[in-house]
Amino acid sequence: MEPFEYAGPTTPEQAVERLAERRGESELLAGGCDLLALMKDRVRTPRRLVGLRGVAGLRDVSWGDETGLSIGAGITLTDLSEHGEVARRFPALAASVAHAAGPQIRNAGTLGGNLLQRPRCWYYRLGYGLLPRHDGRSMVRAGDNRHHAVLGNDGDALFVTPSTIAPLLAVLGARVRLLGPEGERELPILDLYRTPRQEGEREHAIGDDELLTAVLLPPPPAGLRAASYEVRQRQTLDWSQATAAVALRMDGDRVTASRIVLGQVAPVPWPAPGAEAALAGQRLTRLALADDVLVAAGRAAVTGAQPLSQNRYKIRLAEVATRRAIQRAARGEVPGLDSMEGGSP
């Protein structure tokens, strides 16, 4: 990797200062699961690393009946999944986090790092850029795009957003807190993600002098049922090929409101308002996978999907993930350690 200097701040404010001093040349280092690999491959070549290990308060979790749950972005995925308050208030989140990546990565990787990890697109990882072009055409469109986007793919950004946790946080109404030189700001988690329109733009709406300090979850309303469903090919450490996260508000067995967000199908976590509309007012009893309501919701979730040359199957996967996440949420199922991606539904 390229030589770099290392700054070890002890407060969030110091961290932001260290970033701002070499703005555009610095990267934050949390668990390092993604960044160090990118640096070794020289996909990222920061001149300064601002280490977050010694920064106070970044791993705190607190609950307020009015304010909800505040989760420090520096908490490891293992600690997050095992936190009593998280498991009690948001069991679907605890389950999702407990199944992210593998044990070693969960032990080192942080919530903030998971949300801000870079795309796994193999062209990006080989150093061709996020919007790679070759002889005036998109490398991804002309090349091997089996793992690429089927939604939100009208431009040159064809990678898929990697986090499986972000969609679930989104349907739970999460906001993220960012600290910059001018102070703090908060935004809905979906606004943290954006589709770059030109090479060099980052896929996260975070300034290069800002620090993600916390994820904020409002108190879950009565009757909230949330779940996510990931289609993973391998049970061993593997990326989801399509994820659906669902939050339902139920009055008895009737859906009064819902949020559905997909992952790994578009450059950003992809809200599915059509699917939400398909569920509105519906009764979800004795759900079967072929149930008309679920089928309609699944279809609606992928409205506007445009396959590239090799990834038609991902549309189907997103549909199925949506149906199964709805079903799982409606049944109040929190998957056990062995079956995050289902198996027999």
């Binding site: 193999w122 289609v231 391998r234 061993t236 450490l237 189907r316 996967l317 027999s344 539904p345």
Partner: protein
Amino acid sequence: MAEDDARPAIDYRWPENPTLLGRDISRLDGPAKVTGHARYTHDLERPGMLYGAVVRCPHAHARVTRIDTAPAESMAGVRIVRPVKSVGDEIQWALAEVVYLAADTEARARDAARAVVVDYEVLPHHVDGSDRENGPRGSDPQESSEGDPDAAFRAADRVVEGTYAIESVAHSCLEAHGQIVEWDEAGDEMTAHCSTQAVSSLTGQFAETLGIQASDVRVICQYMGGGFGSKFGPDPWGIECARLARAAGRPVKLMLERDAELTVAGDRPSTYARVKVGVREDGTVSGWESESWGSGGLGGAGSPPIPYVFSFPDRRHRHDSISTNVAGSRAWRAPNHPQACFVTLAAMEDAAAALGMDPLDLLLANLQHTPFAETYRAELEQTAEMIGWRERWRPRGEGGPESSGPVRRGLGVALHAWGGRGHRSNCEVHIHPDGGLEARLASQDIGTGTRTVIAIVLAETFGLGVDDVTVKIGDSRYPRSGTSGGSTTVGGVSSSTRRASMNARARLFETVAGKLDASPGELEAIGGTIRVQGDPSRSLTWAQACGTLGVNPLVATGSHPGEGDLDDSGVGGVMMADVSVDRETGVVRVVRMVAAQDCGLIVDARTSRSQVEGGMIMGISTALAEEKVIDPVTGRMLNVDYESYKLAGYADVGTLEVHLMDGPEHRARGPIGVGEPPVIAPAAAVSNAVANALGVRVPHLPLTPRRVLDALEAHATRRSPAERSA
């Protein structure tokens, strides 16, 4: 050894009532490996060692137009820079080596490699090995024909056609290729610490290329992190490492990085095939016609042995070798057999399905065309019993009894064959006056348990335990022994060790016979003693017996091949897979796989089973996940790390059960290797089980969700007109 000639002939054979052979014995170097004490080539360091690095071409096909090494040469700590390509040279695959260099630290070496400037004229590339129409040919087509297939098809009740594909896979050695080379001060003699399957033969290969004497080359490999057929030679990077080290006057370490390891250090060729099978209603195959094509890189790919195992009397096969701008393939564990097995056994299962027949019955109906009909029959019965085939198998598409909702269960079967005759091997046994007993061979343990097997044979012959003996291998200064490839090692080293041990034992008996007031021919080595046969009262302890040797050790040698009938060739095996397939996500899971394997005389049951289990895991991995993805745009391999080159993990392989065929008729054959055989059938068995579960052949391996869903969709499209009219 002239004095040996005067002795009565030794009757070389395996013991009839062994105490160690065939038992479950843990591999002797297991603790060293799991505790990290075992030092692999990758772990070694030598005093004053430099680190090598390689400048590689990023293009699949290009011509070098400029090489400027000056920026690297001027960097502090960079000791030597050696281009191996010149301006004007054509490069035929991505990540080909252009410049080698060595520097004081690994980081500096890599920085220097990046500082070298190489310009290219990029040329058009061809990387699609499935493109039979446009692909350049790697060699002439291979054609073979027996009997009259056309007449056989006319006589068939049904003619079933299918297409099949299996993509190129990497060897995935956990320890990448590489070595450390050091020279003596005069630069005359070199020592290479190599991750290799060929300790003995590397000496001559290094020497020939470097223009030195083979006797001036020493090769050492104590522990080895996987080769699978890709580590037989010194490799261009081994030769260049030696040149760097000689020029620099210091040891140089050069291990491939993972992207290069996956891209240029060998792979298994892809295979695409069309098959036509003629069958009679009773399931007997009356005719076979197939054409296959595929690529293993620039040199193309040789023909897989199709039809596999079954020598149908009326058959025809043609193979086209497609040349691609991809680094050359190498022997991949049972070269070409897994692809041939998949194509053949899938086509036979499809024929059974067309007849509405249980594929197990179809295989049984055709065993007369195989080399080991009786072995296969016993193994098919054995595996069917283990997996509950007769109770649980359902016709294609009905789904096994455990099916639930969109998750369908299915069973599949496949069988395989391999030779595995013992290779040439020499063993030297030393009996030390202090009781030490030692075998020396320039063999290597490539992870298969060779060290343990030698210890068992040695200890068995002397009536000792495996902990009482020492095995010294992995150094070319020991007596030459064959390369570990083709499942030939266990037959070779066991036989040479047995002969050397029996020779040494006979001479020890001569030495101690007088002490026991007996003739040498009356003695036996048993339970840590040397005694008169069957008479514990006339015995010496092992230590006492060795004490009679005086000050010098007794040294005896043994070779393979040699006197006595200690080895054999040819084993068959059967595997059955039980899978679940989610029809909606296309996710395939192996629930369980069972194997029955013939391996002749079992030396160590535990490491034999471990070999079979390892083959099953590797085979399942290629069935479900593994595939080298070559980018049509850049010609580069895209999945050059283990995040995107997917290997099955422990959780993905299901429950594995292995039955080793045993009995007098197997033991009489001597040990036969099982390195290759168990990796052959898993892909075919899994593919067949998926077809059984879904009712649709997913013709393309690996069986990713994409391929499963595409096959289901294609099937639905084909059927939809009929369904609409209904």
